[in-house]
Symmetry: C2
DNA sequence: TGTAATTCCTCTAGCCACTAGAGGTTCAAG
DNA sequence: CTTGAACCTCTAGTGGCTAGAGGAATTACA
């Protein structure tokens, strides 16, 4: 049996975050000692590892809840799991494209100015004031 | 003179957001009519455009505050503006790298499963349970 | 067995950058 | 002069935690 701190050390998830996951229903209510402290077994550990991995991949708490639900009902079709993962992938690709445009734009803005003159003539500030100079939408 | 709704239409920034920017000090307190409604001139319009552009580029409210402060003191060096922009660029590049790794990982996970079998044998769920299979850190 | 250090508990509040809604007032067009 | 749109302030909610207060339980060591 693991105390919440053990679970935290083993997964790298902070103690308050574990309690938060319980409070929003991602982790089932943990068993308690006579003194009301949470105790976890291997199941709790692997579920938290699952959650952590999914969070690192950017899945929302809600999406993770749906994935866990599927995991807990192994007879159901996994079409939903696949569609959640594909939606997440699409989301990541959209963000990636936006960030790439942003990178170009910021590069253009940040590199025009050597920082050696006064704000009156600063090209960074000028570029930020003048959206029309941007090379692409954002 | 523009009412807050005019400003909103011209910049694409929502009315409550404009009030929010005022409340956090990004926009100066607007002049008011006798009936207490905000009225803006060209200065307010261009400042809001500046803020909107900077937000689209991912600058934090705090960073934008510093940029505006510089803009309002044209005699000061623009080194700070350049350094804020460069920090933002660095931040975007870090996120870009992380998202790229994520995209690879999600692509691997989402594409292994055709969605046609049961959750018991679903490779998406298996991949999410097994971080060790990941090709890279995240 | 005692005690001190550590970990645990609950609860509330805060973070960012908004967004939503209630309940009421003012403005502008006809 | 009326109507309806737009405005006002205020509070509370979003997501995903994080921080801190104040107190109880557990563990390690003497």
């Amino acid at each position: 049996m693991y105390a919440i701190g053990d679970l935290s050390r083993r997964t790298g998830v902070k103690v308050p975050t574990i309690r938060y996951y319980e409070s929003v229903g991602l982790l089932p209510d943990a068993g308690r000692t006579a003194g009301n402290q949470r105790r976890y077994d291997q199941t709790g550990l692997s579920r938290l590892a699952f959650i952590k991995h999914a969070r690192q991949l950017g899945f929302s708490i809600e999406a993770i809840g749906a994935l866990i639900d599927l995991n807990d009902h192994p007879d159901r079709s996994c079409a939903e799991a696949t569609s959640i993962a594909k939606a997440q992938l699409q989301d990541v690709r959209t963000k990636l494209a936006a960030l790439t445009r942003l990178e170009r734009e910021l590069h253009r803005i940040a590199d025009v100015c050597d920082g050696l003159h006064t704000a009156q003539t600063c090209d960074v500030l000028a570029a930020l004031s003048d959206h029309s100079a941007c090379g692409s939408d954002h």
